[in-house]
């Protein structure tokens, strides 16, 4: 067991992947000497060389487009998008090419491209540096979408993402990059498409992923003092969902609150609410409620504490659920 920050855990996972397979490449803006603006790729270029850790021109479409080409030649590129808000110039390559080319080829082509995206707010940043664009990708068939929430998961999930033969959008909770935890560098993790009950409970299910897992755990701890026993489930995989675990949890508790930072409207929480309601209709004591960002652009940072769902907002939703 080693104590690692989440950023360092991904770094170690990438390093392990690169050691295991010479076809694994890392590419993106400033990923080389600088080690990325969050230092997630720190030291990799020094150890694996400029051919495997590529500082790219400043153009996200180019990053994904050339990564696809490299994958077609047998490489396994791990691309870094510097911040969530800068993934959109690459939207076309991701949505029309990366996601659809394997089907287009009737399975002849595999595209093991991982797109790492530091996402979410809470770091006092300027515009475009605090967003949560996951719903754009969960709706894009052909992609796997995952989000890690803690160092141990991050370490194995990034390796699994790199090892798999499908394109993966890999969300990293940037405000948790500096959170530390014990990581067993030898242990295999839960499979990439499995959810994890991170706190068992009987009264209500809190569903979260990425940065909100910690918030939900805090909310559950606070609720405990009021005598409420909340279960917290970390989705880990957003597409596909681990519906067995989710359905079972919601059927047991009869109540569910979904939390994410992205705007609630047409956000990923809607899918969770709609699908779980279909599956748990007779078990639900209350509608699945959603807590998330407002249906506005991410506000200037002096307002982000109001915008981001925090412990209080989560508990408010819990209260509303129990009011049914």
């Amino acid at each position: 067991m080693t104590t690692l920050t989440l950023a360092k855990a991904i770094n170690e996972g990438l390093r392990r992947s690169m050691e295991d397979n010479a076809k694994v490449l890392v590419m993106g803006e400033d990923v080389g000497k600088l080690g990325g603006v969050f230092r997630v790729t720190d030291g990799l270029q020094k150890d694996f060389g400029e051919d495997r850790v590529i500082d790219t021109p400043l153009a996200e479409s180019g990053i994904i487009g050339t990564a696809i080409g490299l994958a077609l030649r047998g490489y396994r590129p791990v691309c870094e998008i510097q911040f969530d808000g800068f993934v959109f110039p690459a939207a076309d390559q991701i949505i029309t090419q990366l996601a659809k080319m394997p089907l287009r080829s009737l399975g002849k082509i595999k595209l093991p491209v991982v797109v790492r995206i530091p996402f979410g707010g809470g770091i006092g940043a300027v515009e475009h540096h605090s967003e949560s664009p996951e719903a754009y990708f969960t709706h894009t068939a052909g992609l796997r979408v995952v989000a890690c929430s803690n160092p141990a998961d991050a370490y194995t999930m990034i390796q699994d993402a790199v090892r798999g033969d499908d394109p993966v959008i890999f969300f990293e909770p940037k405000r948790r990059y500096w959170d530390k935890a014990e990581v067993d560098l030898g242990a295999p993790g839960l499979p990439l498409d499995r959810a994890k009950i991170v706190r068992p409970g009987a009264d209500l299910t809190l569903l979260a992923y990425g940065p909100m897992v910690k918030t939900c755990l805090e909310a559950a701890a606070a609720a405990e003092e009021e005598g409420r026993d909340l279960e917290v489930v970390d989705l880990r995989s957003l597409n596909p969902l681990d519906l067995e675990v989710l359905t079972d949890s919601v059927r047991r508790t009869g109540r569910c609150v979904v939390a994410h930072e992205a705007p609630v409207f047409s956000g990923f929480g809607a899918e969770l609410a709609a699908r779980l309601t279909e599956r748990c209709f007779y078990h639900l004591e209350a509608p699945v409620l959603r807590v998330g960002g407002f249906s506005t652009p991410y506000p200037p940072s002096r307002l982000e504490d109001y915008y981001l769902p925090d412990l209080d907002r989560v508990l408010d939703a819990v209260d509303r659920s129990f009011a049914y």
């Binding site: 487009g65 050339t66 080409g69 030649r73 287009r104 499908d166």
Partner: protein
């Protein structure tokens, strides 16, 4: 003047030509090519056969057998000339109109028809032919080509990639990013732009105010304009560019100056936006006629040869048509196949529900 004098609004474009529209063989100081009689005849045969495949496809579309067809009529020389410059190890990234290049890469024409018939979105194995799938989102394949070329570099392979795109495509951000990537990495890639003068209804002036081959100068690599209706010149220029790429001299942009003699696709009606005169003028520069004239005048081929090729074309057309008509529709469950390489719970669930639903109709 510090303003770059080469911004070139005034410089008249040069055109590499080795065979005039009248079938005269001409010299070019930088590009020449030695071909056997047999090789020239073989190029002629290619041109005729791909035109026939194309005509057959247009007819099949008219008869409702294809949803759409993008005709290569007029662009045969650009495609055969460049396509025959490739070695097996080279990798090609086409748009949706490179039926002639597909022919050079031994892709069964019926697979092309399948795409336009709607039985698949692709249909051949790119690795088997070193010919990537058709790409419909304009320009996006140019970045794939550069990435692939970066892979070739890392593999130390003696090969290059060639990517096709149209005049309209040069306006897309992706194509320009591809130029940047290629020049910065010195990737072994040849950008082959078929300037057929039109992007659907838009003439070249809507995309550029200078000749397209000059675009390369802004990115620091060579650009060359070739007579796209001259199969010999296309072959010579492309061969040279591919060789340069393979030898580590980086990218080249080739502008094949040609003309889309047909509609943009079978859905299009060019009479709405261009004059018939223009087409008539280009007919005089037909890419096949000039080779025929050359072969004939120089007694490199006789009537018998031409008849044999025509007969072969007829047979090919018939074969392609016949096999197109019997192309089976994919089974409904194909919707769920190959979306992911690994198992995927959601797809599995939807497939199962769907098959149960379908079975309900059989009861």
């Amino acid at each position: 003047m510090t303003a770059d004098a080469s911004h070139g609004v005034d410089t008249p474009p040069e055109l590499v030509q080795l065979l005039t529209p009248e079938g005269e063989r001409v010299e070019h100081p930088d590009y020449d090519i030695e071909l056997t009689e047999e090789e020239v005849r073989s190029l002629y045969r290619d041109l005729v056969l791909v035109r026939r495949i194309d005509l057959e496809a247009v007819a099949l579309q008219r008869q409702g057998e294809l949803g759409l067809w993008a005709s290569l009529l007029g662009q045969e020389a650009a495609q055969i000339g460049s396509g025959r410059a490739l070695t097996d190890a080279d990798m090609v990234f086409p748009t949706y109109r490179e039926h002639g290049v597909a022919w050079c890469r031994d892709v069964d024409p019926v697979k092309l028809l399948g795409l336009f018939r709607g039985v698949s979105n692709g249909g051949w194995d790119p690795a088997e032919h070193n010919f990537h799938l058709y790409t419909i989102v304009i320009g996006s394949q140019t970045l794939h080509a550069v990435g692939y070329a970066m892979g070739l570099q890392r593999d130390g392979a003696e090969a290059a990639t060639m990517v096709y795109f149209g005049d309209g495509a040069t306006s897309q951000g992706d194509v320009n990013e591809a130029f940047i990537w290629a020049s910065v990495t010195n990737a072994p890639v040849v950008f082959f732009c078929q300037n057929n003068q039109w992007a659907i209804s838009e003439p070249l002036e809507r995309q550029s105010r200078i000749p397209l081959y000059k675009r390369a100068s802004g990115f620091g690599f060579p650009g060359v304009r070739v007579d796209g209706n001259d199969v010999l010149a296309c072959l010579a220029v492309t061969r040279q560019a591919l060789r340069n790429a393979r030898e580590g001299q980086g990218p080249t942009l080739i502008e094949a100056f040609t003309y889309r003699m047909g509609a943009h696709t079978t859905s299009d009606d060019p009479s709405r936006y261009r004059l018939a005169d223009e087409l008539e003028a280009w007919k005089l520069k037909d890419p096949i006629e000039r080779v025929k004239a050359y072969l004939f005048k120089n007694r490199l081929a006789d009537q018998e040869f031409f008849e044999k090729v025509d007969a072969e074309a007829d047979a090919l057309g018939k074969d392609v048509r016949g096999r197109c008509l019997t192309l089976p529709d994919p089974p409904p469950e194909a919707i769920f196949q190959n979306v992911y390489a690994g198992p995927h719970a959601l797809i599995d669930e939807e497939r199962e529900q769907f098959l149960t639903y379908l079975a309900g109709f059989e009861r």
